[in-house]
């Protein structure tokens, strides 16, 4: 097996951490306080760093320890810090008049997880050719697809510019989570450039949030309705 094949306790820990990541995604989906989103995103990144370190230790992938440190630093500290700064400068606090109520968005998120689970089982079966998919593949594919789907759901259900930015970051976290579990041997280079890219996106969109407030007077996406047809 090219992927991880942990047994017993290790598998349980892996499941637990992946579930934590998924749960924190739901915290973001359910709350309308943007500051909570950022805190949940930071917490999610720390958990991802933990997962990275755990897989690095248990699976003997020393590169993952470096990635764990980078994740903690970039995704866990620098990006949340930049996001809080954007929030403070724009005097934003919470999402007003959301598209759907938080209970409803959590239900939709749950449906996404079910969809992801079903797709993961089918895909896993197709790839391995055996009917009960290995637990690693099951948790890896499910959490990957679920977090990415919920990230897209956040893009759709949110109206606030900063929430869109967070939605994009959640999608990236989902891809990172899946790649950690499914392919721990992914070259370090890719993770480097993805982090660099995330940093650029947050900085660029932070500047655009400033322009949005200056030119349009709002960071609500419903105000962005001039260009149609």
């Amino acid at each position: 097996m090219p992927t991880l094949s942990p047994t017993g306790l290790n598998q349980a820990i892996l499941d637990l951490i992946a579930m934590c990541v998924l749960l924190l995604t739901f915290v973001m989906l359910g709350s309308h306080w943007i500051r909570n989103h950022i805190l949940a995103f930071a917490a999610q990144s720390w958990v991802l760093a933990l997962l990275s370190a755990f897989i690095g230790f248990s699976g003997h992938y020393p590169a993952l320890l470096v990635i764990a440190g980078l994740t903690l630093l970039f995704r866990g500290l620098i990006l949340p810090h930049l996001l809080v700064r954007i929030l403070d400068r724009a005097h934003l606090n919470r999402e007003f008049a959301p598209v759907v109520q938080s209970a409803m968005s959590v239900v939709m998120g749950a449906l996404c997880v079910l969809l992801a689970y079903g797709a993961a089982l089918r895909l896993g079966q197709a790839v391995t050719g055996q009917s009960p998919v290995t637990p690693v593949m099951r948790i890896g594919l499910t959490s990957l697809l679920a977090v990415v789907l919920i990230g897209f759901l956040m893009l759709v259900l949110r109206r606030e510019a900063v929430s869109h930015l967070l939605g994009l970051l959640v999608i990236e976290n989902g891809i990172f989570l899946g790649s950690l579990i499914l392919m721990p041997g992914l070259p370090l280079l890719l993770e480097f450039v993805v982090l660099f890219d995330l940093l650029l996106i947050v900085v660029a969109l932070g500047m655009f949030v400033r322009y949005l407030r200056a030119e349009i007077g709002s960071t609500d996406s419903r105000a962005l309705d001039r260009l149609v047809g």
Binding site: P2, L123, V127, S179, M183, A204, E215, R226
Partner: protein
Amino acid sequence: MIWASLGILLTVTALASALCWIVRQPRIAEIVNLAAATIDCLLVCWLLVVTPSGGVRGVGNYLRLGPLGLWVMLCTAIVYFLASLHAIGYMRRMRKEKERLNRFYGMFAVFALTLFLAPVENNPGLFWIAIELTTIASAFLVAFQRAPETIEAAWKYVVIATAGLSLALLGTILFYWAGTFTLGPSYNMTWSRFAAIAPLANPGLVFFAFLLVMVGFGTKVGLVPMHTWLPDAHSEAPAPVSAMLSGALLNCAMLGIVRFLEILKSTPEHALAQTALVMMGALSLLVAALFIVRQRLIKRLAAYSSIEHMGIMAMGFGFGGALGVMGALYQMLNHSVTKSAVFFGAGSTMRAYQSKQIAGIRRVLDAFPVVGLLWLASALAITGAPPFGMFWGEITLLQGGMASGNRWAVVWTVVILIVVFIGFLSHFRRMYFGRPPTRPPEAAFHWTELASLALAVAAALGLGLWWPSSVWAYLRAIAHHLGST
């Protein structure tokens, strides 16, 4: 020698950008940028001649220079040169942004640099990053004139493109995963490595990954239904930036889809992947045609025309075979030069009439005989009328479609092309004839605007009248490399 030339090309562009930021003199910045564009253009032509047809790999196997990548770079270099020339006159007329003009040129060169980086990447992950960087660099150019519309366009552009590209990243990573089953957990990610593992991997997984990549890069290409950022960004950006977006950026993103299609070439899923691409192209063509017919704004008209042409190119690559691919590649170059001319003409006329609306522009020929004539010629060329190069690209591509057994798609394309021809030119009829405008347009174009427009139209005409056999041999070699037969 080849790598030295490429190194010079990238360094010159980067230095030009840095210089533009440092000197703060718009007049110097525009010359520096134009000089870099000229050097880049010459170097790409030189590379086109000296690079062996099999392509070369270098710089620790991180870079790969092959005919396909060079062809895309040629399109980029030509558009970069034309747009830099046009920008001199066009940007000078922006009164409010006078002090910040050097930043425009600095960012313009960065944008070009990212566009040159993408085709030479030998690592799909790094290719993805280069495409992602083009988004950020060009978003600042779109938002250069700070107005509610431009900021809105730039914001939508970044959010939609980044969300779409995250799917491309997911697809790339799933390709890597497919490889871990045969190559072990760690291996170097390169295009050729991916091509080697694809036949051994699970077909379902490979096809799923391809669909993700197609949708992801398709967002950047402007394939319907992920095209929604494109008309906004193209219409709100300054004209030279619109030309770069349309004539250079879309090609680079298309290269991603083509490269992944090439990876699938010896798998059982290749035919299915080709069909998926043809379907996406056909849908793009239809939606673009509908929006072209009912369009009220000039630059949005040109933007939807880009979606249309990208749809045609997607179909050409989807048809496969020598003729389909050759047609699509020839179409790519022709689209780059012709669409630049359309955007240049649109930008200058919009400025002169102070209106973005088609209805606000009347009797262009009366006011500007030369610019008007050239712009009209570019409109004819973009709708695929002979004797312009676009016509030959489309004919070749459609022949490829007939040969590939996608007859329905060929009929579909021909019908829609006729609709677009009538719709597009009927807008131009209204702008060239009809009642005289209530307010006379501001006269006087800068000579660079005229020169860039004339050069672009001349290139479009030249590509239609003159068919050097070496170019076709070159394209045939690329097609042979891409095709499974």
